[in-house]
Symmetry: none
Subunit: 251 residues, 2 copies
Amino acid sequence: METLPTLSVGQYTLVFNVFSLTLAAFAASTVFFWMQRGRVAPEYRTALTITGLVTFIALYHYIQILFDWKGAFELVDGAYVASGQPFNDAYRYVDWLLTVPLLLVELLLVMRLSKQETVSKGWLLGGLAALMIILGYPGEVSSEAGTRWLWWSLSMIPFLIILYQLFIGLGEAINRQPASARGLVSTARYLTVIAWLFYPIVFLFPMLGLTGAGAETAVQVGYSIADIVAKAVFGLLIYTIAVIKTDDEAA
Amino acid sequence: METLPTLSVGQYTLVFNVFSLTLAAFAASTVFFWMQRGRVAPEYRTALTITGLVTFIALYHYIQILFDWKGAFELVDGAYVASGQPFNDAYRYVDWLLTVPLLLVELLLVMRLSKQETVSKGWLLGGLAALMIILGYPGEVSSEAGTRWLWWSLSMIPFLIILYQLFIGLGEAINRQPASARGLVSTARYLTVIAWLFYPIVFLFPMLGLTGAGAETAVQVGYSIADIVAKAVFGLLIYTIAVIKTDDEAA
Protein backbone atom coordinates (compact mmCIF):
# COMPACT_ATOMS: atom_id res chain seq x y z
CA MET A 1 0.00 0.00 0.00
CA GLU A 2 1.59 3.24 -1.04
CA THR A 3 1.64 6.33 1.17
CA LEU A 4 -0.28 9.08 -0.55
CA PRO A 5 1.27 12.55 -0.77
CA THR A 6 -0.68 15.72 0.01
CA LEU A 7 -2.10 17.15 -3.23
CA SER A 8 -3.14 20.67 -4.15
CA VAL A 9 -6.79 21.18 -5.03
CA GLY A 10 -5.74 21.51 -8.68
CA GLN A 11 -3.79 18.22 -8.66
CA TYR A 12 -6.49 16.23 -6.89
CA THR A 13 -9.21 17.62 -9.14
CA LEU A 14 -7.23 17.04 -12.34
CA VAL A 15 -6.77 13.36 -11.48
CA PHE A 16 -10.41 13.01 -10.46
CA ASN A 17 -11.61 14.58 -13.72
CA VAL A 18 -9.31 12.44 -15.83
CA PHE A 19 -10.65 9.31 -14.05
CA SER A 20 -14.19 10.49 -14.76
CA LEU A 21 -13.37 11.16 -18.43
CA THR A 22 -11.78 7.71 -18.74
CA LEU A 23 -14.82 6.09 -17.16
CA ALA A 24 -17.17 7.87 -19.60
CA ALA A 25 -14.94 6.99 -22.57
CA PHE A 26 -14.94 3.29 -21.65
CA ALA A 27 -18.71 3.22 -21.08
CA ALA A 28 -19.30 4.81 -24.49
CA SER A 29 -16.77 2.57 -26.30
CA THR A 30 -18.29 -0.55 -24.79
CA VAL A 31 -21.75 0.32 -26.10
CA PHE A 32 -20.32 1.29 -29.50
CA PHE A 33 -18.37 -1.93 -30.06
CA TRP A 34 -21.23 -4.19 -28.98
CA MET A 35 -23.92 -2.23 -30.81
CA GLN A 36 -21.94 -2.25 -34.06
CA ARG A 37 -21.36 -6.03 -34.10
CA GLY A 38 -24.04 -6.35 -36.80
CA ARG A 39 -22.09 -3.93 -39.05
CA VAL A 40 -19.33 -6.48 -39.65
CA ALA A 41 -19.34 -9.96 -41.21
CA PRO A 42 -20.06 -12.86 -38.80
CA GLU A 43 -16.36 -13.86 -38.92
CA TYR A 44 -15.41 -10.58 -37.18
CA ARG A 45 -18.16 -10.41 -34.58
CA THR A 46 -16.26 -12.35 -31.92
CA ALA A 47 -13.45 -9.78 -32.27
CA LEU A 48 -15.94 -6.97 -31.52
CA THR A 49 -17.50 -8.89 -28.61
CA ILE A 50 -14.03 -9.11 -27.06
CA THR A 51 -13.12 -5.50 -27.93
CA GLY A 52 -16.20 -4.42 -25.96
CA LEU A 53 -15.36 -6.82 -23.13
CA VAL A 54 -11.97 -5.14 -22.69
CA THR A 55 -13.50 -1.66 -22.32
CA PHE A 56 -16.30 -3.14 -20.15
CA ILE A 57 -13.80 -4.66 -17.71
CA ALA A 58 -11.85 -1.38 -17.71
CA LEU A 59 -15.09 0.53 -17.03
CA TYR A 60 -15.69 -1.58 -13.91
CA HIS A 61 -12.17 -0.92 -12.66
CA TYR A 62 -12.33 2.83 -13.30
CA ILE A 63 -15.59 3.02 -11.32
CA GLN A 64 -13.75 1.38 -8.40
CA ILE A 65 -10.67 3.58 -8.90
CA LEU A 66 -12.77 6.76 -8.99
CA PHE A 67 -14.50 5.96 -5.71
CA ASP A 68 -11.24 4.79 -4.12
CA TRP A 69 -9.59 8.08 -5.07
CA LYS A 70 -12.48 10.01 -3.56
CA GLY A 71 -12.24 8.04 -0.29
CA ALA A 72 -8.44 8.18 -0.03
CA PHE A 73 -8.26 11.97 0.37
CA GLU A 74 -9.96 14.61 2.44
CA LEU A 75 -9.93 18.37 2.00
CA VAL A 76 -8.14 19.95 4.98
CA ASP A 77 -7.23 23.67 4.99
CA GLY A 78 -7.29 24.00 1.22
CA ALA A 79 -5.25 20.87 0.41
CA TYR A 80 -6.10 17.19 -0.18
CA VAL A 81 -4.43 15.04 2.48
CA ALA A 82 -4.48 11.23 2.81
CA SER A 83 -7.63 10.21 4.70
CA GLY A 84 -6.15 6.94 5.94
CA GLN A 85 -8.34 4.90 3.62
CA PRO A 86 -6.17 3.01 1.12
CA PHE A 87 -6.03 3.81 -2.61
CA ASN A 88 -5.95 0.30 -4.03
CA ASP A 89 -3.23 -0.02 -6.70
CA ALA A 90 -4.23 -3.60 -7.42
CA TYR A 91 -7.31 -2.58 -9.46
CA ARG A 92 -4.98 -1.63 -12.31
CA TYR A 93 -3.10 -4.92 -12.15
CA VAL A 94 -6.27 -7.01 -11.98
CA ASP A 95 -7.61 -5.00 -14.93
CA TRP A 96 -4.46 -5.60 -16.98
CA LEU A 97 -4.39 -9.28 -16.04
CA LEU A 98 -7.85 -9.70 -17.56
CA THR A 99 -7.68 -7.24 -20.47
CA VAL A 100 -4.14 -7.40 -21.87
CA PRO A 101 -4.43 -11.04 -23.01
CA LEU A 102 -7.83 -10.17 -24.54
CA LEU A 103 -6.33 -7.22 -26.45
CA LEU A 104 -3.91 -9.56 -28.18
CA VAL A 105 -6.74 -12.01 -28.91
CA GLU A 106 -8.74 -9.16 -30.56
CA LEU A 107 -5.85 -8.48 -32.91
CA LEU A 108 -5.48 -12.16 -33.81
CA LEU A 109 -9.23 -12.54 -34.43
CA VAL A 110 -9.45 -9.55 -36.75
CA MET A 111 -6.42 -10.87 -38.68
CA ARG A 112 -8.44 -14.02 -39.36
CA LEU A 113 -5.61 -16.53 -39.30
CA SER A 114 -6.35 -20.24 -39.62
CA LYS A 115 -8.31 -21.64 -36.69
CA GLN A 116 -5.27 -23.60 -35.53
CA GLU A 117 -2.93 -20.59 -35.73
CA THR A 118 -5.44 -18.37 -33.87
CA VAL A 119 -5.67 -20.86 -31.02
CA SER A 120 -1.93 -21.52 -30.73
CA LYS A 121 -0.90 -17.84 -31.05
CA GLY A 122 -3.76 -16.85 -28.73
CA TRP A 123 -2.57 -19.12 -25.94
CA LEU A 124 1.07 -18.11 -26.50
CA LEU A 125 0.53 -14.33 -26.57
CA GLY A 126 -2.24 -14.37 -23.95
CA GLY A 127 -0.10 -16.47 -21.61
CA LEU A 128 2.94 -14.23 -22.08
CA ALA A 129 0.81 -11.13 -21.41
CA ALA A 130 -0.59 -12.60 -18.19
CA LEU A 131 2.92 -13.60 -17.09
CA MET A 132 4.17 -10.07 -17.81
CA ILE A 133 1.51 -8.54 -15.53
CA ILE A 134 1.97 -11.11 -12.75
CA LEU A 135 5.74 -10.59 -12.71
CA GLY A 136 5.31 -6.81 -12.46
CA TYR A 137 3.08 -6.86 -9.39
CA PRO A 138 5.56 -7.91 -6.65
CA GLY A 139 7.74 -4.99 -7.77
CA GLU A 140 4.86 -2.52 -7.83
CA VAL A 141 3.94 -3.19 -4.19
CA SER A 142 7.55 -2.99 -3.00
CA SER A 143 9.18 0.25 -1.95
CA GLU A 144 12.70 -1.20 -2.18
CA ALA A 145 14.55 -0.16 -5.32
CA GLY A 146 16.39 -3.51 -5.69
CA THR A 147 13.17 -5.51 -5.51
CA ARG A 148 11.51 -3.17 -8.00
CA TRP A 149 14.37 -3.54 -10.49
CA LEU A 150 14.34 -7.34 -10.16
CA TRP A 151 10.63 -7.74 -10.97
CA TRP A 152 10.72 -5.01 -13.60
CA SER A 153 13.48 -6.92 -15.42
CA LEU A 154 11.66 -10.26 -15.09
CA SER A 155 8.46 -8.69 -16.43
CA MET A 156 10.32 -7.23 -19.42
CA ILE A 157 11.23 -10.73 -20.64
CA PRO A 158 7.68 -11.76 -21.66
CA PHE A 159 7.15 -8.18 -22.93
CA LEU A 160 10.09 -8.50 -25.32
CA ILE A 161 8.92 -11.95 -26.47
CA ILE A 162 5.48 -10.45 -27.23
CA LEU A 163 7.16 -7.67 -29.27
CA TYR A 164 9.18 -10.29 -31.15
CA GLN A 165 6.00 -12.26 -31.86
CA LEU A 166 4.11 -9.16 -33.03
CA PHE A 167 6.87 -7.97 -35.37
CA ILE A 168 8.58 -11.16 -36.51
CA GLY A 169 6.24 -14.06 -35.66
CA LEU A 170 3.18 -12.37 -37.15
CA GLY A 171 5.05 -10.54 -39.94
CA GLU A 172 4.18 -13.09 -42.57
CA ALA A 173 0.51 -13.21 -41.49
CA ILE A 174 0.34 -9.42 -41.83
CA ASN A 175 1.64 -9.63 -45.40
CA ARG A 176 -1.22 -12.02 -46.13
CA GLN A 177 -3.83 -9.37 -45.10
CA PRO A 178 -5.77 -7.74 -47.93
CA ALA A 179 -3.96 -4.60 -49.19
CA SER A 180 -6.75 -2.31 -47.95
CA ALA A 181 -6.36 -3.45 -44.33
CA ARG A 182 -2.63 -4.20 -44.18
CA GLY A 183 -1.60 -0.68 -43.17
CA LEU A 184 -4.14 -0.52 -40.33
CA VAL A 185 -3.20 -3.96 -38.97
CA SER A 186 0.40 -2.82 -38.90
CA THR A 187 -0.61 0.45 -37.18
CA ALA A 188 -2.52 -1.54 -34.53
CA ARG A 189 0.71 -3.35 -33.82
CA TYR A 190 2.69 -0.11 -33.41
CA LEU A 191 -0.03 1.43 -31.27
CA THR A 192 0.17 -1.60 -28.96
CA VAL A 193 3.90 -1.19 -28.52
CA ILE A 194 3.86 2.57 -28.00
CA ALA A 195 0.94 2.55 -25.55
CA TRP A 196 2.36 -0.41 -23.65
CA LEU A 197 5.82 1.16 -23.33
CA PHE A 198 4.26 3.78 -21.08
CA TYR A 199 3.66 1.24 -18.27
CA PRO A 200 7.24 0.01 -17.64
CA ILE A 201 8.43 3.63 -17.84
CA VAL A 202 5.97 4.82 -15.17
CA PHE A 203 7.01 1.83 -13.06
CA LEU A 204 10.53 3.29 -13.01
CA PHE A 205 9.45 6.72 -11.62
CA PRO A 206 10.00 6.00 -7.91
CA MET A 207 13.35 4.39 -8.69
CA LEU A 208 14.40 7.57 -10.51
CA GLY A 209 13.49 9.72 -7.52
CA LEU A 210 10.24 10.97 -9.06
CA THR A 211 7.93 10.93 -6.04
CA GLY A 212 5.59 13.33 -4.27
CA ALA A 213 2.50 15.20 -5.38
CA GLY A 214 3.62 16.04 -8.95
CA ALA A 215 4.73 12.49 -9.71
CA GLU A 216 1.54 10.96 -8.24
CA THR A 217 -0.57 13.28 -10.40
CA ALA A 218 1.49 12.53 -13.52
CA VAL A 219 1.33 8.76 -12.93
CA GLN A 220 -2.46 8.67 -12.49
CA VAL A 221 -3.11 10.93 -15.49
CA GLY A 222 -0.55 9.02 -17.57
CA TYR A 223 -1.98 5.57 -16.74
CA SER A 224 -5.47 6.78 -17.64
CA ILE A 225 -4.40 8.17 -21.03
CA ALA A 226 -2.36 5.04 -21.77
CA ASP A 227 -5.41 2.91 -20.89
CA ILE A 228 -7.65 4.93 -23.22
CA VAL A 229 -5.16 4.58 -26.08
CA ALA A 230 -4.38 0.90 -25.50
CA LYS A 231 -8.05 -0.14 -25.10
CA ALA A 232 -10.52 2.29 -26.69
CA VAL A 233 -8.40 3.78 -29.51
CA PHE A 234 -6.91 0.35 -30.24
CA GLY A 235 -10.46 -1.06 -30.24
CA LEU A 236 -11.52 1.58 -32.77
CA LEU A 237 -8.69 0.43 -35.03
CA ILE A 238 -9.85 -3.18 -34.66
CA TYR A 239 -13.40 -2.07 -35.54
CA THR A 240 -12.19 -0.15 -38.61
CA ILE A 241 -10.17 -3.14 -39.82
CA ALA A 242 -13.22 -5.39 -39.40
CA VAL A 243 -15.42 -2.95 -41.37
CA ILE A 244 -12.88 -2.62 -44.22
CA LYS A 245 -12.43 -6.39 -44.50
CA THR A 246 -16.20 -6.93 -44.36
CA ASP A 247 -16.79 -4.52 -47.25
CA ASP A 248 -13.85 -5.90 -49.25
CA GLU A 249 -15.00 -9.48 -48.88
CA ALA A 250 -18.57 -8.55 -49.89
CA ALA A 251 -17.36 -6.76 -53.03
CA MET B 1 -21.69 -17.96 11.51
CA GLU B 2 -17.94 -18.25 11.80
CA THR B 3 -15.77 -15.99 13.97
CA LEU B 4 -13.47 -13.97 11.77
CA PRO B 5 -9.75 -13.86 12.60
CA THR B 6 -7.73 -10.64 12.53
CA LEU B 7 -6.05 -10.26 9.14
CA SER B 8 -2.96 -8.35 8.06
CA VAL B 9 -3.48 -5.57 5.49
CA GLY B 10 -1.87 -7.85 2.88
CA GLN B 11 -4.21 -10.78 3.66
CA TYR B 12 -7.38 -8.67 3.74
CA THR B 13 -6.42 -6.86 0.53
CA LEU B 14 -5.47 -10.06 -1.30
CA VAL B 15 -8.88 -11.58 -0.59
CA PHE B 16 -10.63 -8.33 -1.54
CA ASN B 17 -8.74 -8.11 -4.83
CA VAL B 18 -9.41 -11.75 -5.67
CA PHE B 19 -13.15 -11.18 -5.02
CA SER B 20 -13.05 -8.11 -7.27
CA LEU B 21 -11.23 -10.05 -10.01
CA THR B 22 -13.75 -12.88 -9.75
CA LEU B 23 -16.65 -10.42 -9.98
CA ALA B 24 -15.14 -8.80 -13.11
CA ALA B 25 -14.41 -12.20 -14.67
CA PHE B 26 -18.01 -13.35 -14.14
CA ALA B 27 -19.46 -10.09 -15.50
CA ALA B 28 -17.30 -10.38 -18.62
CA SER B 29 -18.01 -14.11 -19.14
CA THR B 30 -21.76 -13.58 -18.82
CA VAL B 31 -21.78 -10.96 -21.57
CA PHE B 32 -19.51 -13.12 -23.73
CA PHE B 33 -21.66 -16.27 -23.52
CA TRP B 34 -24.91 -14.44 -24.16
CA MET B 35 -23.54 -12.22 -26.94
CA GLN B 36 -21.98 -15.17 -28.75
CA ARG B 37 -25.20 -17.24 -28.81
CA GLY B 38 -25.65 -16.30 -32.49
CA ARG B 39 -22.25 -17.82 -33.28
CA VAL B 40 -23.51 -21.39 -32.67
CA ALA B 41 -26.24 -23.46 -34.30
CA PRO B 42 -29.75 -23.08 -32.78
CA GLU B 43 -29.40 -26.56 -31.19
CA TYR B 44 -26.61 -25.26 -28.94
CA ARG B 45 -28.02 -21.85 -28.01
CA THR B 46 -29.85 -23.12 -24.92
CA ALA B 47 -26.53 -24.47 -23.66
CA LEU B 48 -25.00 -20.97 -24.01
CA THR B 49 -28.01 -19.29 -22.39
CA ILE B 50 -27.50 -21.54 -19.37
CA THR B 51 -23.71 -21.15 -19.40
CA GLY B 52 -24.24 -17.38 -19.11
CA LEU B 53 -26.89 -17.87 -16.41
CA VAL B 54 -24.39 -19.72 -14.26
CA THR B 55 -21.81 -16.91 -14.41
CA PHE B 56 -24.62 -14.33 -14.01
CA ILE B 57 -25.86 -15.94 -10.79
CA ALA B 58 -22.25 -16.15 -9.59
CA LEU B 59 -21.76 -12.46 -10.45
CA TYR B 60 -24.68 -11.54 -8.21
CA HIS B 61 -23.29 -13.58 -5.32
CA TYR B 62 -19.78 -12.18 -5.67
CA ILE B 63 -21.17 -8.63 -5.53
CA GLN B 64 -22.81 -9.56 -2.22
CA ILE B 65 -19.68 -11.36 -0.98
CA LEU B 66 -17.45 -8.37 -1.86
CA PHE B 67 -19.62 -5.93 0.10
CA ASP B 68 -19.99 -8.39 2.99
CA TRP B 69 -16.22 -8.76 3.19
CA LYS B 70 -15.80 -4.96 3.21
CA GLY B 71 -18.35 -4.61 6.03
CA ALA B 72 -17.08 -7.49 8.13
CA PHE B 73 -13.68 -5.91 8.83
CA GLU B 74 -12.36 -2.56 9.94
CA LEU B 75 -8.85 -1.19 9.81
CA VAL B 76 -7.58 -0.71 13.39
CA ASP B 77 -3.92 0.12 14.07
CA GLY B 78 -2.67 -1.33 10.78
CA ALA B 79 -4.63 -4.62 10.92
CA TYR B 80 -8.08 -5.71 9.77
CA VAL B 81 -10.17 -6.84 12.74
CA ALA B 82 -13.72 -8.22 12.76
CA SER B 83 -16.16 -5.31 12.79
CA GLY B 84 -18.94 -7.36 14.37
CA GLN B 85 -20.95 -7.45 11.14
CA PRO B 86 -21.26 -11.04 9.92
CA PHE B 87 -19.58 -12.40 6.78
CA ASN B 88 -22.38 -14.49 5.33
CA ASP B 89 -21.15 -17.94 4.25
CA ALA B 90 -24.55 -18.90 2.94
CA TYR B 91 -24.10 -16.86 -0.27
CA ARG B 92 -21.74 -19.55 -1.53
CA TYR B 93 -24.16 -22.36 -0.73
CA VAL B 94 -27.12 -20.58 -2.32
CA ASP B 95 -24.95 -19.91 -5.37
CA TRP B 96 -23.91 -23.55 -5.66
CA LEU B 97 -27.47 -24.77 -5.10
CA LEU B 98 -28.56 -22.78 -8.15
CA THR B 99 -25.50 -23.10 -10.38
CA VAL B 100 -24.14 -26.62 -9.86
CA PRO B 101 -27.22 -28.40 -11.28
CA LEU B 102 -27.12 -25.92 -14.22
CA LEU B 103 -23.45 -26.72 -14.90
CA LEU B 104 -24.34 -30.36 -15.39
CA VAL B 105 -27.26 -29.41 -17.63
CA GLU B 106 -24.89 -27.29 -19.81
CA LEU B 107 -22.70 -30.32 -20.37
CA LEU B 108 -25.67 -32.53 -21.27
CA LEU B 109 -27.06 -29.92 -23.68
CA VAL B 110 -23.82 -29.45 -25.56
CA MET B 111 -23.47 -33.25 -25.87
CA ARG B 112 -26.81 -33.23 -27.72
CA LEU B 113 -28.16 -36.54 -26.48
CA SER B 114 -31.65 -37.65 -27.42
CA LYS B 115 -34.35 -35.41 -25.96
CA GLN B 116 -35.46 -38.19 -23.62
CA GLU B 117 -31.93 -38.90 -22.39
CA THR B 118 -31.25 -35.18 -21.83
CA VAL B 119 -34.36 -34.85 -19.69
CA SER B 120 -33.82 -38.00 -17.64
CA LYS B 121 -30.08 -37.45 -17.10
CA GLY B 122 -30.74 -33.76 -16.42
CA TRP B 123 -33.16 -34.50 -13.60
CA LEU B 124 -30.93 -37.24 -12.21
CA LEU B 125 -27.65 -35.26 -12.23
CA GLY B 126 -29.28 -31.94 -11.33
CA GLY B 127 -31.12 -33.53 -8.42
CA LEU B 128 -28.00 -35.27 -7.14
CA ALA B 129 -26.05 -31.99 -7.35
CA ALA B 130 -28.71 -30.10 -5.38
CA LEU B 131 -28.78 -32.90 -2.78
CA MET B 132 -24.97 -32.75 -2.50
CA ILE B 133 -25.06 -29.01 -1.70
CA ILE B 134 -28.00 -29.29 0.74
CA LEU B 135 -26.31 -32.10 2.67
CA GLY B 136 -23.08 -30.12 2.95
CA TYR B 137 -24.65 -27.04 4.51
CA PRO B 138 -25.56 -28.32 8.03
CA GLY B 139 -21.90 -29.37 8.37
CA GLU B 140 -20.58 -26.02 7.12
CA VAL B 141 -22.44 -24.04 9.78
CA SER B 142 -21.43 -26.38 12.58
CA SER B 143 -18.25 -25.95 14.58
CA GLU B 144 -18.39 -29.47 16.00
CA ALA B 145 -16.02 -31.87 14.24
CA GLY B 146 -18.38 -34.86 14.57
CA THR B 147 -21.29 -33.01 12.97
CA ARG B 148 -19.03 -31.74 10.19
CA TRP B 149 -17.77 -35.24 9.42
CA LEU B 150 -21.32 -36.66 9.38
CA TRP B 151 -22.67 -34.16 6.82
CA TRP B 152 -19.45 -34.22 4.80
CA SER B 153 -19.81 -37.99 4.42
CA LEU B 154 -23.50 -37.76 3.54
CA SER B 155 -22.73 -35.07 0.94
CA MET B 156 -20.01 -37.23 -0.62
CA ILE B 157 -22.58 -39.93 -1.53
CA PRO B 158 -24.37 -37.90 -4.25
CA PHE B 159 -20.95 -36.51 -5.32
CA LEU B 160 -19.65 -40.03 -5.94
CA ILE B 161 -22.83 -41.00 -7.82
CA ILE B 162 -22.36 -37.91 -10.05
CA LEU B 163 -18.77 -38.97 -10.76
CA TYR B 164 -19.98 -42.49 -11.59
CA GLN B 165 -22.59 -41.03 -13.95
CA LEU B 166 -20.07 -38.73 -15.65
CA PHE B 167 -17.47 -41.42 -16.22
CA ILE B 168 -19.52 -44.61 -16.63
CA GLY B 169 -23.12 -43.56 -17.29
CA LEU B 170 -22.16 -40.99 -19.95
CA GLY B 171 -19.14 -42.90 -21.30
CA GLU B 172 -21.04 -44.37 -24.22
CA ALA B 173 -22.62 -41.00 -25.10
CA ILE B 174 -19.15 -39.42 -25.17
CA ASN B 175 -17.95 -42.04 -27.63
CA ARG B 176 -20.85 -41.03 -29.89
CA GLN B 177 -19.58 -37.39 -30.05
CA PRO B 178 -17.96 -36.30 -33.36
CA ALA B 179 -14.21 -36.99 -33.32
CA SER B 180 -13.39 -33.25 -33.43
CA ALA B 181 -15.25 -32.55 -30.16
CA ARG B 182 -14.77 -35.82 -28.26
CA GLY B 183 -11.50 -34.76 -26.61
CA LEU B 184 -12.95 -31.47 -25.37
CA VAL B 185 -16.12 -33.11 -24.00
CA SER B 186 -13.93 -35.50 -22.08
CA THR B 187 -11.76 -32.59 -20.84
CA ALA B 188 -14.91 -30.78 -19.62
CA ARG B 189 -15.70 -33.88 -17.55
CA TYR B 190 -12.22 -33.97 -15.98
CA LEU B 191 -12.29 -30.21 -15.34
CA THR B 192 -15.58 -30.69 -13.46
CA VAL B 193 -14.11 -33.37 -11.24
CA ILE B 194 -10.86 -31.55 -10.51
CA ALA B 195 -12.49 -28.17 -9.80
CA TRP B 196 -15.23 -29.77 -7.69
CA LEU B 197 -12.78 -31.78 -5.59
CA PHE B 198 -11.52 -28.49 -4.20
CA TYR B 199 -14.76 -27.88 -2.26
CA PRO B 200 -14.88 -31.02 -0.05
CA ILE B 201 -11.16 -30.58 0.63
CA VAL B 202 -11.59 -26.99 1.86
CA PHE B 203 -14.53 -28.18 3.96
CA LEU B 204 -12.07 -30.41 5.85
CA PHE B 205 -9.69 -27.52 6.76
CA PRO B 206 -11.16 -26.70 10.20
CA MET B 207 -11.33 -30.41 11.06
CA LEU B 208 -7.62 -30.71 10.25
CA GLY B 209 -6.76 -27.82 12.54
CA LEU B 210 -6.25 -25.33 9.70
CA THR B 211 -7.77 -22.18 11.16
CA GLY B 212 -6.79 -18.56 11.74
CA ALA B 213 -5.80 -15.74 9.39
CA GLY B 214 -3.73 -17.79 6.93
CA ALA B 215 -6.40 -20.48 6.55
CA GLU B 216 -9.20 -17.92 6.14
CA THR B 217 -7.21 -16.17 3.39
CA ALA B 218 -6.41 -19.46 1.64
CA VAL B 219 -10.03 -20.64 1.80
CA GLN B 220 -11.47 -17.44 0.31
CA VAL B 221 -8.84 -17.24 -2.45
CA GLY B 222 -9.20 -20.97 -3.13
CA TYR B 223 -13.00 -20.89 -3.37
CA SER B 224 -12.82 -17.94 -5.77
CA ILE B 225 -10.32 -19.65 -8.08
CA ALA B 226 -12.30 -22.93 -7.96
CA ASP B 227 -15.46 -20.96 -8.87
CA ILE B 228 -13.73 -19.26 -11.82
CA VAL B 229 -12.46 -22.62 -13.10
CA ALA B 230 -15.71 -24.53 -12.51
CA LYS B 231 -17.96 -21.84 -14.04
CA ALA B 232 -16.12 -19.47 -16.43
CA VAL B 233 -13.34 -21.74 -17.72
CA PHE B 234 -15.76 -24.68 -17.88
CA GLY B 235 -18.21 -22.39 -19.75
CA LEU B 236 -15.49 -21.47 -22.25
CA LEU B 237 -15.00 -25.20 -22.91
CA ILE B 238 -18.75 -25.62 -23.44
CA TYR B 239 -18.68 -22.64 -25.85
CA THR B 240 -15.71 -24.07 -27.77
CA ILE B 241 -17.43 -27.47 -28.06
CA ALA B 242 -20.59 -25.77 -29.37
CA VAL B 243 -18.58 -23.78 -31.96
CA ILE B 244 -16.69 -26.85 -33.17
CA LYS B 245 -19.86 -28.91 -33.49
CA THR B 246 -21.64 -26.02 -35.27
CA ASP B 247 -18.86 -25.70 -37.85
CA ASP B 248 -18.60 -29.47 -38.28
CA GLU B 249 -22.32 -29.88 -38.86
CA ALA B 250 -22.37 -26.98 -41.35
CA ALA B 251 -19.51 -28.49 -43.41
